[in-house]
């Protein structure tokens, strides 16, 4: 309750991030029973939040903190996707390591992977919290501030049913008659972005593989030099130290590539962004399709209306035939129906407008 009050109070404030400091501070490995009562190991991430106004007042309160799993982040994002279909929802870090060069561990429990995911999750939260619409969502607040009962609240919103129906609609094939140029461009752009980032990531993984090879082969020098130094008198020390340097050189590549992984993560974020953008475009297309269908319907309805009121049948239609055969509908009934349609159409147009605005 306090939360909602607070929310209402700060409704004017542009984004959540202006009011709250958010970070994903650390991660922890845990194990427990899953849904089918199987033992599983998972990682939880500590989310810390702190109200900004307290900081501004000079107080330095201990942050509120709670633990969330990756799957809960996923749930949050799915909820946001369904609730705000016209918004490009920031992507989550990858579920499993993709575009890896072969020496890198693909294990989800790998500490480096977990650490990179922690950074990615924090980025996600910050991006969501800095979005003017998303950041004011109550479910998001709940996610950030109350550890328990969140999942239940999310499921209560019934977003899943909506998600399922939308998924069905999206997977059906449809063709928009008058594609919107802006959205077409956006779609092309996101395709381009996606193909470039994925190419880049693939190329990078291969480059990393090779570079790793080059460095590690140098490591062999280390061994040979130190063996060789054993049979030399004057050169012994020099060779020995050359060998050590070679070892150090070979070992340095691990850190270099580990660091480069962060760069790859940023590329990946945009790769997923491209995907999110495409999804929105697709949803827009769907809405536009629905809009077009509705408009068409409206036109035919208007035509019928005219025909009925004037008694002239301009074109042969099934509806006209039935009307002639079974007598006319009550005009009130018809009017009401038309009105309803118009309302629907308006709604559709409104939605499209909304989406256009949000996407831009």
């Amino acid at each position: 309750m306090v939360l909602t009050v607070m929310l209402q109070m700060v409704e004017e404030s542009p984004t959540l991030l202006c009011r709250m400091e958010i970070c994903v501070a650390e991660s922890e490995k845990r194990s427990g029973k899953n849904a089918v009562n199987m033992q599983e190991t998972f990682t939880v991430y500590l989310i810390e939040t702190r109200p900004m106004d307290a900081l501004a007042e000079g107080r330095n309160p201990a942050p509120d903190s709670l633990w969330r799993r990756y799957s809960e982040f996923e749930l949050l994002r799915n909820y946001l996707l369904v609730t705000f279909p016209y918004i490009v929802v920031p992507p989550l870090p990858e579920k499993r390591a993709e575009f890896v060069w072969h020496k890198l561990s693909a294990d989800n429990m790998d500490p480096d992977f977990v650490e990179r995911r922690r950074v990615g999750l924090e980025n996600f939260l910050l991006r969501v919290a800095s979005h003017p619409v998303l950041s004011n969502d109550k479910i998001l607040h709940h996610f950030l501030t109350e550890e328990h009962g969140w999942k239940e609240v999310v499921y209560e919103t019934g977003f899943q049913a909506k998600a399922d129906s939308r998924l069905k609609a999206l997977s059906a094939t449809f063709r928009v008659r008058n594609p919107d140029k802006r959205f077409m461009d956006m779609k092309h752009y996101s395709d381009d972005l996606q193909s470039h980032t994925s190419q880049l990531l693939r190329a990078r993984a291969r480059v990393a593989d090779r570079l790793y090879g080059v460095y590690k082969v140098h490591g062999n020098y280390g061994r040979v030099f130190s063996e060789w130094s054993a049979i030399e008198r004057e050169m012994g020390d020099g060779l020995q130290s050359a060998g050590h340097h070679m070892d150090a050189y070979a070992a340095s590549i691990d850190d270099i590539l580990e660091e480069e992984e962060h760069y790859a993560d940023q590329l990946k974020e945009y790769l997923f962004y491209a995907e999110a953008l495409r999804a929105v475009c697709r949803k827009h297309e769907l809405t536009q399709f629905e809009l077009e269908m509705a408009t068409q319907d409206l036109i035919s309805k208007k035509q019928q209306h005219e025909e009925l009121s004037t008694g002239i049948v301009r074109t042969f239609s099934f509806k006209g035939m039935t009307n002639k055969l079974f007598g006319q509908e009550a005009p009130e009934q018809r009017e009401a129906r038309l009105k309803l349609l118009e309302e629907l159409i308006e709604e559709g147009e409104e939605a499209v407008k909304d989406k256009t605005v949000e996407c831009e």
Binding site: H196, V214, V217, N220, Y221, V224, E234
Partner: protein, 439 residues
């Protein structure tokens, strides 16, 4: 790395080497100090430059006989080889292709500058082909069997595998020939060999003509019946043999590693080029990010260039040196074998003589004494050459490895500079964006 690497290092003078540059100077001191202290004394033992330890050995006598008229020129410590003291300079360069109906071959210009009295003129310039170098080496080996003759680059080249007339091949071979000739010319004994003189000066080398000046001493080492076991091979030569085996093995490994690195590097280069290409093609869809993306692509290209140079340097400079030393090891092993044979011959004769002596009490035949002289001469020469070789090797490898490190640093610096310039570009972009936002 320059071809005259060891020379360049040596010519920086003994002082900086012992005092500053050379980390191993301490080990050299005992050898160089006597020279500084009393040049006269060393001058007497001049023929064996390294062997201050056995000045009375027959070899030094023998060498002195050979080199008598050039005492002054050789008063020097071979390690402190400085330019002022050297009096024979040779260079191999300017390869030319000759095409005749019979064969196609390459000749190289061999230029000589000298102040030695054995030479009529101070300067010579002749053209020689690989065969001629080969002839010289065989002659040197025949006339100076007790000495370590530097190796020539491999004679046999698989047809089809390597193009014998390709620029790279000729260049590499020329460098190796230059190295060979310089090593011979720097050698205190070999450089006075009349065959070398002929090789450097005569316009048309008549390879069949035997040279009258040819020294017969120590020439024939007869093969001893196989299976003869040396009674006591001096420990130092045993150690030499062992050293050679291990060193050979290590060189082989290093060579393999270097080859592998080259291979990995070229594969890396291919991938890196592709990677840079992706950035360039990305520019097409990101008008606003054109400059940064092009910048990144440019950086990758620069890095590729630096890396390519590094690889070229490696295959042009690093690998040939390894190669030369592998061949050198063969030469040393040969000399060691000949030494063993000579010792075996001596021991065989000695044994026979002792037997005879017991029977008829004749004095030790002259023959045996000669043999003994020969062995000692062999030992001394070999030891001297060994020390000389060791010192050269030290210089060469120091040079080689420092060179490699330098080139690596150089290459990395180039890439680093490129990336650093990109940082400023990106920062410019950021401030640009900010100003455009505020305005």
């Amino acid at each position: 790395m320059s071809v005259g690497a060891p020379r360049a290092l040596a010519s920086s003078g003994q002082k900086p080497i012992t005092e500053i540059l050379h980390p191993l100077s301490a080990a050299e001191e005992p050898l160089s100090v006597p020279v500084g202290v009393d040049k006269q004394e060393v001058g007497l033992t001049n023929g064996t430059p390294v062997e201050t330890s056995s000045p009375a050995s027959t070899s030094s006598l023998f060498n002195r006989l050979q080199l008598d008229d050039d005492l002054e020129a050789d008063v020097r410590d071979p390690y402190a080889d400085s330019t002022e003291m050297r009096d024979l300079f040779v260079t191999v360069d300017d390869p030319k292709k000759h095409v005749s109906t019979m064969e196609t071959y390459i000749t190289y210009r061999v230029s000589t500058k000298t102040s030695r009295v054995e030479f009529d003129l101070p300067e010579y310039c002749v053209r020689r082909r690989y065969q001629d170098f080969d002839w010289l080496r065989i002659k040197l080996e025949d006339s100076q069997p007790t000495h370590l003759i530097p190796p020539l680059p491999e004679k046999f080249v698989m047809k089809g595998v390597v193009d014998r007339f390709s620029e790279e091949f000729v260049e590499t071979r020329m460098k190796a020939l230059d190295k060979f000739l310089k090593r011979v010319a720097d050698h205190p004994v070999l450089s006075f060999n009349p065959h070398l003189n002929a090789f450097l000066t005569v316009k048309d080398l008549n390879k069949r003509q035997g040279l009258a000046l040819l020294s017969k001493v120590g020439e024939s080492v007869k093969h001893v019946a196989g299976g003869y076991k040396l009674r006591a091979r001096p420990a130092e030569f045993c150690a030499m043999g062992e050293y050679l085996d291990t060193f050979n093995q290590k060189l082989g490994t290093i060579d393999r590693i270097a080859q592998r690195i080259l291979k990995e590097q070229s594969e890396y280069l291919t991938e890196l080029r592709e990677y840079g290409g992706v950035y360039s093609s990305w520019v097409g869809s990101e008008e606003e990010l054109r400059r940064p993306l092009e910048g990144v692509a440019g950086c990758v290209t620069t890095s590729c260039g630096a890396l390519e140079d590094l690889g070229d340097n490696m295959s042009l400079d690093f690998l040939p040196v390894l190669r030369e030393y592998v061949l050198y090891l063969e030469s040393i092993k040969n000399v060691l074998r000949k030494r063993d044979q000579s010792q075996a011959e001596y021991e065989g004769r000695l044994e026979a003589a002792i037997l005879r002596k017991q029977e008829d009490r004749t004095p030790m035949p002259l023959e045996v004494e000669k043999c003994q002289d020969k062995v000692e001469c062999f030992n001394a020469d070999l030891k001297a050459d060994w020390e000389r070789w060791q010192s050269n090797k030290r210089h060469d490898f120091k040079q080689l490895l420092t060179g490699m490190a330098d080139r690596n640093i150089n290459s990395y610096e180039k890439s680093q500079a490129a990336w650093e310039s990109l940082i400023t570009l990106l920062q410019d972009k950021q401030t640009e964006d900010k100003t455009s936002e505020t305005s």
